[in-house]
Symmetry: C2
Subunit: 414 residues, 2 copies
């Protein structure tokens, strides 16, 4: 079964508008009105942030709305409260629209199904090692999506967004030389998911979809220019400019894990020395934990090591949560390195917000305090005067909501 | 005398189109045509890079063009070569349109007058110390503009763009706590120039107008996302995203002079340690030159010091041009520090081009080679695969052309 798409840019603009919630025809008419003032700008409703690429007369608006209802993309939704005259009919996105948001991490897969307004209807997750390769991961995506289908959450998807923890060619829908994803280089993931789920799909870097998620439903709802720093197995940064993901000319923008912190620092897996990831990536943190366990600096980590035979970055988080001094110090040191890199990026980019996210970010306020301390001390006063540095609000949901947002931008376009 | 402005967004879009050069009505109709294909995109002419905010039917197009002629903003320009049928009338911007581009540096003032297509008709320049304050500098701007008026280059300006070497509030048109501009904080420069020259004016940071100049007429003509690094008295960076200047949320984006190169480095005037400017800003380079002269490491600089009683950054350039080994080494060291900072920014921003510009950039290929060597070694391969790092093509003209471009964007809008 094929789902309908908008037929022209007017319809597309209306769908993006309705993604923010139901509206009365009178409200929509105010927003898309032909310019009347001398500046030529329409009057935006408070809190709305979308482009107005095509203006419409009221009769054109009503015709396009009726057509969207015919296409099964919108539906009527009763009458709005009176604004002094006749009550205006409300319109909303069709209740049948469904998007899948797929967030593939280094060690987990999340799949969610949303409605047309990107409200999450169901969300399933399981541990999954990305190094097992694309065929295995695709199979797990199929199984998880099947679970959501069995729950009756969808029969037909309008689109699927996918995030992976490595650089991608956005135009081609393939990962490109992803360092922590052996076997994935140029694997046609977008195409495979599209075939598997029978709907259009789009593929992006995991930090980009997390940034889109925070922009749509998290801490960045009102912010046009911001950075989302993910600290996990790798360290990456989503860059949002004017409300849109900035990908750079070859799609690698935000790849901050290999920015040099210290020329004399430890050798990194990339071959250079002193990279941020060589200090605070998942592998570096696990190695530091092992040292702390063996040296006796951390009784807690020594105990975990004896019990499990190995240590991971998450063990440092657990140790710090128990108040283990050596673990807290590891997090402080890492936070300082992240802060050093971020201080430069904040001076350069002058963002309106910095969001700290990812597995290690669950270390929480110790990490945040250290990052803030370095950035506020080191960046330009003009750039930090009104700069909040905060933890993610959505955590695990950011990726799937952002992936749904990504594909909805595509489906709601013409 | 008041100049006319476009009355609606259609006319504004046509003026921006004609800024690229004269067009036949048939060519314009192709560009602004209503969408006919399924993608809804108009067919862009090769090499054109401007938004198409409002599409027009052919009759609407002709009506708006006629109106622009009535307003004195456009004029007819003979007939185009036949494309197989009737020859189409050519249209161009009015030959009477004039913009002023004003580039205020730390040690010089440049004023140029351009036509509506931003071709430079006249350009005058003189040494001027910005520390003498805004009233003095404004007076020099008046005198230089007067010279161009006396040459018959203009009677009435349509607008003036201004660049200053420090952070500005673009919205308010004032410098904001500019470190090397004592007495300028919140001085209403935009308003004063506007009153003085009797036309609309806009104020921006000098690196931003240089980036606009390179984008309009220099090495960045075909590049949407790029960085322009200016190395002079201060060190700054213009950031262009999707063809437009990115200013950040408080207008300080690109202020890279105080990014930390080494925590144990020399103390900077800003109070922190190891900033890029503390290594390679104008004052740092002058101090290093003094040391080289006094220690006997540089016979050339010792001679200049004995003759002039003092040394400046330009003396290092002159010494290096003479093959003085100590001076070449100073430039190499500085280039390496610039490269270290740029390597991180290239990984972060993944630009399509990096332009090296400013007084010290005239040191030329020694500096360029050093910067390239560090960036190509240190940044991510994905980000440097197709990344040219080049010297400015326009040099002194970049600022004035970019300033004219800035104000023309404003004048050609509705």
């Amino acid at each position: 079964m094929k789902t309908n798409r908008p037929e022209n840019p007017h319809q597309a603009a209306l769908l993006r508008l309705l993604r923010e919630g139901p509206r009365s025809r009178a409200e929509l008419a105010d927003i898309v009105a032909e310019p009347t003032g001398s500046t030529g700008s329409p009057v935006p409703l408070p809190g709305t942030v979308y482009p107005y690429p095509w203006r419409m007369s009221r009769s054109k608006l009503n015709a396009e709305l009726d057509r969207l209802v015919d296409l099964g993309l919108a539906e009527t939704d009763g009458l709005a409260a009176s604004r002094g005259g006749r009550r205006s009919g409300r319109v909303r996105l069709s209740r049948d629209i469904r998007f899948a948001g797929i967030d593939i991490g280094a060690t987990s897969v999340d799949v969610a199904v949303t409605d047309g307004e990107l409200g999450v209807l169901g969300h399933v997750s399981e541990p999954c090692d990305i190094r097992l390769g694309p065929a295995h991961v695709l199979d797990r995506v199929r199984v998880l999506a099947g679970k959501l289908r069995e729950q009756g959450l969808f029969t037909q998807l309008h689109g699927a967004g996918i995030g992976v923890p490595g650089p991608v060619s956005f135009a081609e829908g393939v990962p490109v030389v992803p360092p922590i994803m052996p076997g994935w280089d140029r694997y046609p993931m977008r195409e495979m998911v599209s075939q598997e789920l029978g709907c259009p799909a789009m593929l992006d870097n995991d930090v980009n979809i997390m940034a889109l998620g925070e922009r749509h439903a998290g801490v960045a709802r009102q912010v046009d220019d911001f950075l989302l720093v993910k600290i996990g197995t790798g360290i990456g940064c989503g860059i949002v400019v004017d409300g849109k993901i900035y990908r750079g000319v070859s799609g690698s923008a935000g790849d901050i894990g290999h920015i040099q912190v210290d020329e004399l620092g430890p050798v990194c897996a990339c071959g250079n020395a002193g990279c941020l990831e060589a200090y605070f990536g998942g592998a570096a943190l696990a190695a530091q934990a092992l040292t702390a366990a063996r040296s006796g600096a951390s009784p807690y980590l020594a105990e975990r090591l004896a019990a499990a035979g190995t240590l991971a970055a998450e063990d440092v988080a657990a140790a710090a949560a128990q108040g283990d001094a050596a673990a807290v110090q590891l997090i402080r040191d890492g936070g300082r390195r992240v802060g050093q890199v971020l201080a430069g990026l904040v001076s350069f980019f002058n963002p309106g917000l910095v969001i700290i996210s990812g597995g290690v970010a669950r270390l929480g306020h110790v990490l945040l305090a250290e990052i803030r301390s370095v950035v506020y001390r080191r960046s330009l006063p003009l750039a930090t005067g009104n700069l909040p540095i905060v933890l993610s609000e959505l955590e695990d949901t950011a990726g799937v909501v952002g992936a749904a947002r990504l594909i909805s931008d595509h489906v709601y376009s013409a």
